[in-house]
């Protein structure tokens, strides 16, 4: 069963599996129709995407179905997205969507459909280790690598997941799409979070979903507590953000913290954002971790992982970085790697 977004990656993944002789079916998930809250159709369920996925499957002579997972998506992803921002964090909806919706729910569906495995167009690899255990690795194309968003997968889930594009570069995938005559071969890559409708921002989405709970305007203050300006509502401000602060200052200012309880956005200069310690919770391990281990930690999707020491304590871990990391944001994922391999990861709760 191939999860098909309508994009070129999942189309090629589907085509490769069909070409290898697997009995394949394509599934497009209907996740969030935000037109019902007056926001226009999310790109993840646009007719265009469904039409593309269907056209690819028709070409490959593979059955294609649209599966409604709005309820799961609202419960598992949008809810956390809204709550995270209301708590002054920068949530990571894609991580949860992968573990709970795409692979969580899809693997259950695979059982119902009698499918042996779920495949997707993610750029990540599943490799077998020396002891036969399954390991999650970065995709070969480092520009496109999506392993950061997949750390919540469990070893059991990995047994039934396939990433046919893990060994390929995006350029190769596009070339294959053209060669195979796939109708969406030239479709541009998606950039934003998938449920945000075209022409809208995630602030618009938050405004609709949080409704009256959305906090109003407040103060922008520096680290000493001086009021520098006003913000339209702290939701949507992210640690490390430099643009759109609405304050005029000779200094180069960044958001260094969001304080929901005071309805304040704290700004400061770059050195305040250099952090050497992270607390990470809701950790998922793809290995059996020793109490302390050397890793490389990645704190954003486009961040070069940095050497760190991880100390496991109870349900969380503390990460001590060898060199300070710039602007780790509470709510974002911290993913632990050793070389290419994903060891585990969790969500940043605080940094200092």
């Amino acid at each position: 069963m191939v999860a098909m977004s309508g994009g070129v990656d999942s189309a090629v993944a589907c085509a490769l599996l069909a070409r290898q002789g697997h009995e394949v079916l394509g599934v497009t998930l209907h996740l969030a129709d935000l037109s019902r809250v007056g926001l226009g159709v999310s790109r993840c369920c646009s007719l265009d995407d469904v039409t593309n996925a269907r056209a690819v499957c028709t070409l490959l002579d593979v059955p294609h179905y649209v599966i409604n997972m709005e309820e799961t998506f609202h419960r598992e992803v949008l809810g956390l997205f809204v709550e995270g921002y209301l708590a002054g964090q920068t949530p990571s909806p894609c991580v949860r969507c992968n573990s709970r919706v795409k692979f969580g729910e899809l693997l259950r569906l695979a059982d119902t459909f009698g499918a042996d495995a779920v495949a997707s167009g993610h750029y990540a690899r599943i490799c077998r280790g020396e002891n036969g255990e399954l390991q999650l690795w970065r995709g070969v194309d480092r520009q496109k690598d999506q392993s950061y968003f997949l750390f919540e997968l469990t070893p059991e889930q990995l047994q039934r997941i396939m990433f046919p594009l893990g060994e390929m570069t995006k350029a190769h995938v596009r070339a294959l799409a053209v060669e195979m005559g796939l109708p969406n071969a030239a479709k541009p890559d998606s950039q934003e979070v998938c449920f945000v409708p075209e022409g809208k921002t995630y602030r618009d989405v938050l405004g609709k979903l949080a409704g009256s709970r959305l906090p109003g305007p407040g103060e922008v203050v520096d680290e000493e507590g001086h009021v520098l300006g006003r913000h339209p509502g702290f939701v949507g401000f992210t640690v490390g953000q430099r643009r759109g602060l609405g304050v005029a200052s000779g200094r180069r200012l960044y958001v260094v913290a969001v304080r929901p309880e005071k309805n304040q956005v704290i700004v400061g200069e770059a050195p305040s954002l250099a952090k050497s310690f992270l607390e990470v919770r809701q950790v998922n391990w793809l290995i059996s971790p020793s109490p302390s281990l050397e890793v490389e930690v990645q704190v954003r999707s486009h961040h070069r992982a940095q050497a760190a020491l991880v100390e496991v304590n109870g349900q969380g871990v503390q990460v001590r970085l060898r060199e300070p990391v710039f602007a780790p944001a509470p709510g974002q994922a911290a993913v632990f790697y050793r070389g290419e391999r994903v060891l585990g990861g969790g969500f940043i709760t605080c940094a200092w």
Partner: protein, 374 residues
Amino acid sequence: MRVYLDHNATTFPLPEVWEKVLELGGVRWGNPSSLHQEGRLARSFVEEARFRVAALLAASPQEVVFTSGGTEANALALWGLARLLGGPSGVRVYVGATEHPSVFAAAEALAGLGASVEVLPVDEQGLLRREPLAKVQPPAVVCVQLANHETGVLQPVESWVAALAHPKVLIHCDAVQAVGKVPVDFHQLGVHTLALSAHKMGGFPGAGALLVRSDLELPALVPGEQELRRRGGTEPLLAVHALGWACHFVGERIKLWAEVATLRDYLERLLKERIPEVVVLGQKASRVPNTSCLGLPPPLLGHVAVVALDLEGFAVSSGPACSSGASLPSAVVRAMGFDELAARTLRVSLGLATPRQEIDSFVSALERVLRRSR
């Protein structure tokens, strides 16, 4: 081997209908509105079809307006009746809570033009409740479906019509799922307009009809000289021809549906025996003979079951689909008061030629799918 149990969505054209349509293969016909011989020939096909449709419904041929199908027939009825009452502005449109989405869509379009729309509630068997019906305020258009598309439940339309009698209350009946499966007498029902669709009864998609009582001068939705100015556009000759013959042949076979009812009851007995958690919606009401609406046990969702069964070789359906093709929870089941079942319904609709062993294998397949879903 495929097992097709979705005859309420589309049933296959009857073999005899195919034969009649193929006979037209070498015929050089013209436009039914033309005066010449070729036109007159085409006209004769259209009028014969009109005659056959009328005969099945005990109506007169002038009362038959050909449309592109059920949706257009419903839209024409609501528009025309609202116009006859001086509307749409100021007219109240009452829609039964379990009506087909095309009726709701037409009502909403009228609401956009100043009509007010009210939903008539149903009980847990899907039958309209009597009290709200007694409170209908003229001038009003009331929509009552004869047979429900998801449950097959038959409304006692005649008795509702009697309760609604008022010169400024006009009644439309969507009979798309009933015509061909149960005897329908247009005048005995007493409604003002009645919709039917060819592909639900052995004709082809692309034709349907609205029956309009001869004392009404129904304004057109699509203006034009055709169909006595009630529906513009050249009649789709092949589809109309097939519709006429479908009416003829289903009329001949209407007694055979008793056997389908026996088979449907067998299906429901078998389900009760083998998968007792499955409930049958509207089972206590009078229903068309071929339809069974099942409420599945959790966690199996209706549309997931449809996909799993399709992969097993069985065609059935669940609730309505949105434009992307994703299934939505059943508004019909929700209106009947079973919120928790709305996303877990499965509609099985048999055809005249469904053999018993297909029922057996379907129940086994559903058992397998349920087991795998847990």
